[in-house]
Symmetry: C2
Subunit: 348 residues, 2 copies
DNA sequence: CTGTTAGCGCCTTCAT
DNA sequence: ATGAAGGCGCTAACAG
């Protein structure tokens, strides 16, 4: 035997890292480390007297808890990975914003991940972030690799899926009925009397939620007896540019169109701005509808008719569901339909 | 004495968490845990034979390393907190995007934090995220609470400040010379022959970088002998709405303005769209200049003249600086001026 | 190249 | 209400 614990001397720490530890605080306050821990985590279990002494020491030494150590010991680091398809799409940003503000206020941190719409990357990312012993996870959509779903289900901590609704959700979800939303705009266009209606999208090969909206749109036209199954799209992701491009393409191939239903407001905005340039009158010559409810839509001329989805609120709600579970409160429901609203403005 | 280590039996783990551990893999492969660790982290230090056996076991068991444990043991968690003032400002989002893609590709994760432009919140956030033993930190601007600066300097790991340039930077920084950029647009307006020029901003009380641009603008006018010190602003943060509002206010108070220099493209866009609505001709009746280079600017009528700042690239560069340091490569410089470019379009 | 030993800093369990 | 002991899962340091 070399040294028993009594003999272990004030070893200089492994590494140069000389941060103040709970031990230092304990010594300073003349208590055991566990007491410091209690003062920090469950103050009600410590007498006022000790609590004050410890608080003092914490202040004096500038102690900041090592959350990694805490996480290892208690299996759970107040970190919530949020995994979205892309950070260049405003929608996800707005949802993340809602999530982040809500979680941060509750003392949790958001770990950001993006998958570029690739389910394999998503699965790999899941594996990697679960290595951080997060308290919960938020991911996008209901479609995932089988392996990821299995792992997440076995994991046993709260999981929230956003943007979509359905019974196949892993644990909880917050989103909208995409097909319904698509049908909603289609209906509106029909009610306005338009018949030659096209759906225009971008990057739909990867964005299956846009495809769901298209399906809703198509079904609606069909049930209305309108023989119009026009779809224009481009490969590239959504942008004003992409919007202009599909707009021009549709116009060329189908000059007699009466209305265009865009997969989102970015595209619709690009189209309206190009229409202005070309002197095409909206909605006189052509009606334009969007999806999302970006603030830009209110400022365009004409103002954009759209299906507004409360993105920020969706994020807030997702975070709330997660927090409810983490704090042991049971939420009213595990699936919340955040809804959408037809915002009729000038462009239709 | 109760049990020495030989006697410690296959205790069921503390908690329900029955994830596969490095021990399980080691047992399965018939090696010591450290060998598994080496195969995963420094494979070149392990013989091919053992490496294969271990890889096999990892696969078979579906082992995913616990990064928290690894982080505790090696003091460093491949997490990089990125702290920005706001997630509702597109600029920061674009920078974060660049950071995130670059770091994720290198196996690091971004931990998101926002301060709402409050330096106290920033300092508190710093404390809290440093608790995750991050590998490095990225924060916004050069102005921070004294306490935060001290802690970060003592911390000894790479710190990158973005959006701004200056000698007072904590460690490394990537950004633009805001005053110069402001001067650049002012000069352009002067060259175009405009003399009654106003600067218009939003939320400038909090956004001191916008104030720096205004200073650059003001100095430029002054040196040119133009007696025109007009500043219009509103409290609320930047948005199309805010842009429209200050635009209208300026127009009312100062109907003879020849040019407006907006603190950013969001405001400028709001102004242009309102001008279109009111039939005010740009640049015939009034010239408008912006700052940032948002893609929206290219689509407006008229197209927006602006000072373009490569935001995404700034993020990429910030991440690169950090990675260079982390991987022991020395970067060419600790301060990189990402530059800006005057993009002359139709609005001036 | 491989293994042994001893923590990383905190918290859980159990005793007092 | 407080403390002692031990472990969370992994890796640095030091043998061999």
């Amino acid at each position: 035997m070399t040294t028993n614990k009594a003999g272990i001397r004030e070893r200089r720490r492994h590494r140069g890292d000389n941060r103040v530890t709970i031990q230092d605080v304990a010594k300073q306050a003349g208590v055991a480390p566990i007491t410091v821990s209690r003062v920090l985590n469950t103050p009600e279990k410590v007498s006022v007297k000790l609590r004050e002494r410890v608080d003092h020491a914490v202040q004096a030494l500038g102690y900041v808890p090592n959350l990694i150590a805490g996480g290892l010991a208690s299996a759970g680091t107040r970190v919530i990975p949020v995994v979205v398809p892309s950070l260049s799409i405003l929608t996800f940003i707005e949802v993340i914003h809602g999530i982040q503000e809500t979680l941060e206020a509750a003392g949790y941190q958001v770990l950001l991940g993006s998958t570029d719409f690739d389910l394999d990357r998503e699965a790999a990312l899941m594996d990697s972030v679960l290595g951080y012993s997060p308290s919960g996870v938020i991911l996008t959509g209901l479609q995932h690799r089988e392996s990821a779903v299995r792992r997440l289900k076995a994991w046993g901590r709260p999981v929230v899926e956003i943007m979509e609704l359905g019974d196949t959700c892993i644990d909880m979800c917050v989103g909208v009925q995409n097909a319904e939303a698509g049908a909603c705009m289609a209906n509106h266009l029909l009610e306005r009397g338009y018949r030659r209606i096209a759906f225009l999208g971008a990057g739909m090969a990867r964005d299956y939620r846009a495809r769901q909206r298209f399906e809703g749109h198509r079904e609606t036209l069909k049930s209305a007896g309108v023989e119009c199954d026009l779809l224009f799209q481009c490969e590239e992701p959504s942008s004003y540019d992409a919007g202009r491009n599909v707009f021009l393409e549709a116009l060329e191939k189908c000059p007699d169109l009466e209305a265009m239903h865009f997969a989102n407001d970015n595209l619709a905005a690009g189209a309206i701005m190009e229409a202005n340039r070309q002197g095409i009158r909206i909605p006189g010559d052509l009606a334009i509808g969007g999806y999302l409810g970006l603030s830009l839509g209110e400022h365009l001329s004409p103002r954009l008719t759209t299906v507004t989805v409360p993105r920020y609120e969706m994020g807030v709600e997702a975070a709330r569901l997660l927090l409810a579970r983490l704090e042991g409160r049971s939420s009213l429901s595990d699936q919340v339909d955040i809804g959408y609203e037809l915002t009729v403005r000038e462009s239709t």
